[in-house]
């Protein structure tokens, strides 16, 4: 009893330490976004200081970064939806069908994650230029969708595999078409998995830099592409960098909070059976 209580205390201490390590840098970022340059560069860490609100309007209004937030949202939102819409059916086929070369094809989907983005980027840029799609949000959305597809196919295959085949068959017996069974019965059952996958896709697309930089127009660039513009030969505008980074993480934190329950359950579903 006492041993277990002591153990519990140790466990909580370790977890508390982990949370502190994970959160403190972000907290520092948050504080930095309310500091003046002199406070930021102070040699002794300034935990207490006279806060300034100036950094937020300076970057979002003065530097016109507000639209970038909207660009980030559209790119990440659309590409997440698109990856799920295209990837989930493919994953379903991989989970249910047996056909020659299935495993090779499946592995092939995975290998698309392995090429260094820098090498794919230039040809992709030339391709979108040739087709006239360059400098549109579509180009970025499509690029993000294609590299997220492998993740969707991989994760969702596991989720579908976990849903007993008999459920499909029962739905078909009830007079649904094969597609109807997939859309009406299987997909809702896999919702937690979809949520978990969606969060990961969203994070990857939201934080992606290289493709967004190369393919988006100036007006369409997302926040990640805007951040380096705050590192100038006249000094890094640390307060503004922090303000952008704080704002940029908020949507993900909210999104992740909302689907948190599904996130863990969803991964449970998928990964073990993958």
């Amino acid at each position: 009893m006492t041993a277990s209580a002591a153990w519990r205390r140790v466990a909580w201490a370790i977890l508390a330490a982990a949370v502190v390590i994970a959160v403190t840098p972000y907290l520092w970022l948050l504080l930095t976004s309310f500091k003046t340059r002199v406070d930021i560069l102070s040699p002794q860490p300034a935990w207490r200081f006279a806060p300034t609100w100036a950094n937020y309007p300076a970057v979002f209004i003065g530097k016109e970064y507000l639209p970038l937030l909207w660009n980030s949202l559209s790119i990440a939102g659309c590409s997440t939806l698109l990856s799920l819409a295209i990837g989930a059916p493919a994953a379903y086929v991989f989970a249910r069908e047996r056909f020659p070369g299935r495993e090779d094809l499946f592995f092939f989907f995975l290998t698309t994650r392995m090429a260094p983005p820098i090498s794919i980027a230039v040809p992709l840029f030339l391709f979108f230029t040739a087709t006239g799609m360059i400098d549109t949000l579509y180009a970025v959305i499509i690029a993000h969708t294609s590299f997220n597809l492998s993740l969707v196919v991989w994760m969702m295959r596991g989720f579908f595999a976990d849903i007993p085949r008999e459920i499909d068959e029962a739905a078909q017996m009830d007079g649904r078409s094969r597609l109807g069974a997939f859309v009406g019965v299987v997909l809702p059952l896999a919702a937690p998995g979809l949520a978990a996958t969606a969060v990961l896709c969203f994070i990857l697309s939201w934080n992606e830099f290289l493709y967004a930089f190369l393919l988006a127009a100036f007006e369409g660039r997302p926040l990640t592409v805007g951040i380096p513009g705050l590192v100038t030969p006249h000094g890094t505008l640390w307060g503004q960098v922090a303000a952008v980074a704080v704002v940029a993480t908020l949507p993900i934190v909210v999104f992740a909070m909302l689907v948190q329950r599904h996130l863990v359950r969803g991964l449970t579903f998928g990964a073990v059976k993958a």
């Binding site: 340059r37 560069l41 400098d135 930089f213 513009g229 100038t232 030969p233």
Partner: protein, 455 residues
């Protein structure tokens, strides 16, 4: 009838005579008429000069009906975007703002339109605009000309000079102590030995104060800093007269190696983190009052020496030329230029805008105060500005043909090869002092230079 006829004729001739010279007087509105409604698009580095351009552009639009869209990116983002645009021939930009080092690459690959065509066109050329008069000729020739042809005008004029803490230079206690130890007066360094003496004297790690700070990060900044030393020591990378020429690779000459050894010797008078600094960090250090002397860019002057909000040493700075070595007085010529891509859709309109920016006295005061990264002399700015004087002095040296100029290579070829030099400077730091091998540029890098020079 005849009389009226004659009268009418007379009137008609009179009107004609009155009108003819009028129609020949060049006006921007007239010249811009054919391009009304056009939208120009340009790209550059997100810094005050470009912000100023953005603020001024609406006035041009009001007069001409030509809109100007300005894209502001970070330094290397702006360079990469343009490089891809030119190579894919998509012609997004009607004119571009690019640094000196890119010029040769662009010209050799036929990406640029030489602008003599516009300068010679009476419909476009503002007769009152005489670039040779308003621009520093040395600067213009170095950064906007390539092999005898003109491709644009300077957008910013950058140079580097030595920054000192004036308050410490004038401190009686420091002066007495320094003289007792080194046997001469405490003053801005005349030569590199004195520069190192100063660095040594003011290095007090226990107080968190250092003599100097080097920009030792693996970054462009390292290259630009080191060439001040290289040229001042009498070295060069290629044995040439202008940055657009090719010549024998002499980066391993004794002078060049000596300059690197000297550069390395300053590491011990710099803060411990000095090998991870670039332009931003050394500026922040100076603003925090933690360094005595630096070799730094002119366009950062305002933020350190004047801006009381950002700097704890505002009003306490002194400036001077980079110390002299065997190479004599040296000033660096650097800058970004307005260039017109060969594939651009609205070249003439773009030229009109560039000319409008270059011609009148349109430089806002605020810009001049930033240490005047302007291609023209800033007039009407407080004459007693110390930074302004130093800038003028260094610029005069850098842009005067009589003095050797520290300048970037801009023969075609990749900047990684140039950065290869920076890498070796960085690696040089890691070797034990006095190890000359580290100061030699490897065959791989010299080969690359020779390859770019077509040998």
């Amino acid at each position: 009838m005849g009389r009226i006829d004659g009268w009418l004729r007379g009137l008609a001739i009179g009107v004609l005579l009155w009108q003819v010279p009028q129609s020949h007087a060049w006006t921007l509105e007239e010249a811009a008429k054919p391009y009304k409604g056009v939208t120009l698009r340009t790209i550059g580095e997100s810094l005050p000069p470009l912000e100023a351009m953005k603020a001024m552009a609406p006035e041009f639009t009001k007069r001409t009906g030509i809109k100007v869209e300005i894209e502001m990116y970070e330094h290397s983002e702006a360079v990469n975007k343009v490089m891809l645009d030119l190579n894919s021939k998509r012609a997004r930009y009607d004119f571009i703002l690019q640094p000196h080092r890119e010029l040769g690459k662009f010209v050799a690959n036929k990406h640029l339109q030489a602008i003599d065509r516009f300068l010679d066109d009476p419909k476009l050329r503002d007769p009152s605009f005489d670039p040779a008069k308003v621009l520093y000729p040395g600067l213009w020739k170095e950064i906007s000309w390539y092999q005898g042809k003109v491709y644009g005008f300077p957008f910013t004029a950058l140079t580097m000079y030595a920054w000192y803490r004036a308050d410490l230079l004038n401190d009686p206690k420091e002066r007495a102590g320094f003289k007792a130890k080194y046997g001469y007066e405490l003053q801005p360094a005349r030569d590199w030995k004195q520069y190192r003496d100063l660095a040594e004297w003011f290095t007090r790690p226990d107080q968190g104060f250092y003599g100097t700070a080097l920009q030792g990060k693996r970054h462009e900044a390292l290259w630009y800093e080191w060439i001040n030393f290289l040229y001042s020591f009498g070295g060069d990378v290629l044995d040439v007269k202008a940055g657009s020429e090719c010549g024998p690779v002499i980066v391993n000459s004794p002078e060049a190696i000596e300059s690197l050894e000297y550069y390395k010797s300053l590491v011990k008078f710099s803060p411990p983190d000095t090998l991870n600094y670039f332009w931003d960090d050394v500026m922040a250090l100076m603003q925090q009052g933690k360094v005595f002397e630096l070799i730094m860019w002119n366009d950062a002057t305002y933020a350190v020496a004047e801006d009381k909000e950002a700097s704890t040493v505002a009003g306490k700075m002194a400036f001077d030329l980079v110390p002299q070595g065997n190479g004599g007085k040296v000033g660096q010529v650097e800058g970004w230029s307005y260039l017109v891509p060969a594939s651009a859709k609205n070249q003439a309109a773009a030229y009109l805008f560039i000319q409008w920016m270059m011609a009148g006295q349109r430089t806002p005061r605020c810009l001049c105060r930033q240490g005047s990264p302007e291609a023209r002399l800033c007039q009407g700015v407080d004459a007693d500005q110390r930074s302004g004087q130093a800038e003028g002095h260094a610029a005069a040296v850098g842009r005067d043909d009589r003095h050797p100029r520290a300048r970037d290579l801009h023969v075609p070829g990749g900047s990684e090869d140039r950065q290869g030099r920076a890498r070796h400077v960085g690696e040089g730091h890691l070797q034990a002092p006095g190890q000359v091998r580290a100061a030699q540029v490897s065959g791989q890098v010299t080969d690359a230079w020779e390859r770019h020079c077509g040998r």
